[in-house]
Symmetry: D3
């Protein structure tokens, strides 16, 4: 599963340090060794530690990295996430790229955790997922399905096919039998047609909680119910209580603020 | 200048639509033609139109694209940013990737515009720049300098070299003569040393506006003054009025929310 | 959808003609023009024409290609599939690579057509699909789902989880809600457990037609029934009549013989 | 020699498991360890073991692989070819890609062995080679020469040059002096001309054994004699006895059936 | 034949102008158009014009290029080699990379021409070739054979095999039948053994002209005679007159001085 | 900093040995081990040892390499630069590529050292740098700045902007504040204008030593003075004594002759 991630790590290193770090090379001899600590500067859910480890090792296989926690754990402000030891020039060359991955992925994980906690608090078993509105080039880190895997019939498809029934029928004849057919519904009438057409997932797009409630009643277990569009933490519980199975939150990946992290180094005694 | 951007466009398309769009392929015949409009769903400063055009053309060279505005322009809610005409399957295959680029770049541009306007409002001639805290893989879109181009002496370098004077001297002997030497200062004492060492840019790190004012007085034109660290729109004017030349704002690239955009299509008459 | 295919076309051209075609370059002047015809040397179902066109154009954008039929059509021995006109050296440089794609894809398409015809002849509506046993590097041409898209619980998973019920439950909690959960069954007892666990597809592995019939009766519409393992044209009808929904045939991609094709050229009058 | 093979291994893994194996990840904890055996399910000549090893190691460097035999050896049904030990998720993620390489390469090796045995049985010293009709992207595994290395004058070149003599002369003036000049002959007259022109290899295309015999007599040691076109095991001895030096068999690479292999795993005691 | 060259063009552009040309972008508006001329600043044999054209087109497909001469022609000081017209920023962005290819390839071509002229002057029909001592990454531009195509038995191979006879025999059994077997000889005794072993090319390594003459007499037409090692223009005729067939000159690619070229631009009237 | 260099090493190995070394594979068994020495065949300044080490390790990770000196050191004729031990086939496969890197980089380093010694001999503190006239694809090895990093206003920019003053002003408004603005001057009048415009570096293009002296007097410390264009070892001191700060020598990278190196191997006792 690392093949694509290595590609992204190399691309990131190449653009930040492809020609080396001239400041560090001017100041430190090649043989100078240090220990670096990556610290949380605010409370966060940590994500990206394995990737950060690969950044350090890719810059210089002589750098030894020890993770102090694991992806998915909470870290409090001031705690150490990762220790790295090796040539000082290598540690400083890797610093910015490693932090850029960690800050973005931990930022996303921290927002995701808030939504997951909100989901759990409702006691409904509702599931939170992200959308295809991701950062191009970062799919491997977000685990989102692509157009080739996910059968999602949207408004444009329905208009072109003439009806939801026709769109579902054409798709069932062509698409892989291992994918569920999902229909996007803009109205209760769409919902009725989707149920009649045998949709296996119905995505309610940009509906209010009360409209969602009516849709859930119409569907009545005949399909998985997913909602999408502008759901934030404030409105989350209202939607969850309306009886949906899955809530899709674009904010998870496209608008999470970066987490605040830093790296400090100390020369190793004797170096 | 497109070489790296093409790499990113291909990577993004490959991960979203590398194996095609099975839903659209199930519903539309290959010969079905449509016109697509990309619309702003909120007011924004637009960025990424040329990249979006390349996304459509890369999916299918038979798609014709017309930009309705230019990167850097303001767009009001509801306005059309781009028209594309061609095979319906191709338009829908390109949709999500094109929108993902536009929403992220326009989100950054809209925040950048707020800071630029704040800068202009101060009448100080202060310049706003972004930082190296970018999304890995997106350097080509942010135009940020890399470690190989920018000589920036930070706390870790100073500690290792023993003093600011020593760090500047070593760097001057090694680094390209066409790069200005920048020193990061954490205190007024650092500032004094940086001036004495002949630093050409002094970056004041995480200082309050009043401390910045004192630093500017100490530097007194001997170096370009840059500030960095936690500057937001609220505190912007205070910092600008303190007499700095350059304000570095990490939020430009690492935490801007995505702009809201959508694409609608209509079958071309006769198709 | 062409991004990955272009990668494969380039890889193929690079290995066959990365340093050019020294024989043709020795014999023809650069300005010498010809017309080439690609001919079927046996009856076949044609596949790969668009890829062959890209091979010619990638070698030399001055080559003009006209397809004489379309992918999926039958071609009789002796019929012309594609005309190409342009510099003789370019036509000969592209020849082998274009034919290699056409012969392999048309070979697969011809076998696939035999199975599809056999399926149609049964009047059962059974669907024929291929397996993940493909030629590495050729996924884009076979449209097969990957491990990241397809939830398939096999014997090894069941042993490890302790039971089919447990394996299905763990997978349902983790895997994307848009994928159907498929369970591989080696025996009727496995089938019973898979039904009880709520499997959405049950794959009967290497069962005889009569055993398949019993399994179909047990499943009784509660899941899609797929069979896999050693199905050939001779046994196809027996399996299809047993009431399955989907027949997975590895031979489609891993053992189809190459179709027989050739290219002839004629100098263009006046060149 | 591994550079290109690594590219193909990465491409294959990326398309089969670029986003991981969601079923295995749902069922096994990261720390769960197993031992896997790759077994021959029919008699075969084994090929691809080193590549299979690289597939496992590329997925996870923590997997330890032990080959139980070597490329080129015979394996009987039921024998173990390879043992791999490591994280269960990694073993299952690598399984299909490793088997896909092994089944195709062992299938080719098994057919190649039949032809080599047939050659040996004739006692003629005839050599069996494959053709350029390979699977695009797989050249590195087949060791075939490309257009840039091999000087082969075919019918199209002869027509264009006006005569075999002229084609050979132009090629000798331009092509590398370290390559032998090979001429494809369709008739005995072509053979006479090729000998007269000083061809160093003459390829007899699609001739009957008796025609081949006459051609060999005409050439009489003046050039290496190669035959190509539709040679199968049944006709092999007749051709070999006709006195040729080299027999080129396209079937080696383009139509060999996949060998039958499987992988079974067992949890390691204590894991 | 362009596949590898495109890779090199993209690599070169990416490293020189991957992030654009900030000076030109600061000075010219996007719509500003110019015409550029590439001029010879000394007499030279021109090479690389097609590659230069691709550099301009890759930077911006809106640039139109007209070649004023062809690769292989002589150009006198002051003559125009290429005209390009298009956006000024694009012309200036491409300038350095286009000139870097032209200056290096024309430098090599000019030296090659001197040796070719020296060869012709001898009236011996001797052929001049280059060696494998090339610039890594530039093989596609030098058309040199690789280790996979060329069978060259050197001193290290002979020592290991025990004798020239044994080395030739082992190689003949394994290497492609379409490659000639070449043996490197350090002494007349080596030459005798190589002839006895049936070597098809004998490379005389670092021998004086008189020693070469003796070797040629010994070989007496039984093999192609190639010489290599330290041949310069001064000694060229002596070697050629000694009766060799091929002279290998490493200086062609590894030490030719760059040709002197420049580009000037003029704003297009009306822009 | 190795990311780009690895790309170049792989490209070089692929083109020289992508399909292996057929001669060595014909002669040596896989298990045959040797020790190789890389020797200087003339006095030189060594450069490229770390890259050569990577070439050996990339071909075969079983090869162990020991450097006998370091990049930047002098080596006398006959001295050993590098020892490598491992499978004989791997050593011979890596040989040419490793030597090609070493000979070119050591050739450049040796010329660079001559200029550096000439600079030191003048006692002026003048600095020698190279130009952007490099070998495309080799930037990572030359550490030269690209168009995206270096603000250099040349004749074409000045003509277009109307004056040096205007060109400097536009550039200052747009270009990164961390780059110094350099202006190319063709005459003393250009120099005067550049000083007046506030240029931070003035590059005197193709001026005689006496003209340079006048220019230095005019600039009088207001900017760094760089000279470029046709400076050779003979004229070096005259230019250095004229008072310039930086001398840019294109010959460093574009015309340095390759250094003379060789590799010899010996079978390891017992192998």
């Amino acid at each position: 599963m690392w093949v694509r991630i290595d590609t992204l790590v190399d691309l990131a290193l190449e653009e930040d340090a492809g020609y080396g770090d001239i400041t560090s090379q001017s100041i430190f001899p090649l043989a100078h060794l240090s220990q670096a600590q990556v610290l949380a500067r605010e409370d966060m859910v940590v994500c990206g530690l394995e990737i950060a480890r690969r950044v350090f090792c890719r810059v210089d296989s002589a750098v030894k990295v020890e993770l102090q926690t694991s992806d998915g754990n909470h870290a409090v402000e001031g705690s150490t996430l990762l220790l790295a030891e090796g040539p000082t020039i290598s540690l400083l060359t890797a610093e910015r790229t490693a932090l850029n991955f960690l800050q973005r992925l931990s930022g996303i994980a921290s927002v995701a955790h808030q939504f997951a906690a909100a989901a759990k608090a409702t006691g409904t078993g509702v599931r939170v997922v992200d959308t295809r509105k991701t950062t191009p080039g970062w799919r491997a880190l977000n685990h989102r399905s692509s157009l080739g895997e996910h059968v999602l019939i949207k408004e444009n498809h329905i208009l072109a096919a003439g009806s939801i029934a026709e769109a579902v029928q054409r798709t069932r004849a062509q698409a892989p039998h291992c994918a569920k057919i999902e229909v996007e519904a803009e109205s209760l009438d769409d919902v009725r047609q989707a149920v009649a057409a045998g949709a296996e997932i119905i995505m309610l797009d940009n509906m209010s909680p009360s409209l969602v409630q009516q849709a859930v009643a119409l569907i009545d277990g005949a399909a998985i119910v997913e909602i999408s569009g502008g759901i934030c933490l404030d409105s989350f519980a209202d939607y969850a209580m309306a009886g949906v199975d899955v809530i899709s939150v674009g904010a998870l990946t496209h608008s999470a603020p970066a987490a605040d992290l830093s790296m400090i180094i100390a020369a190793r005694s004797g170096s």
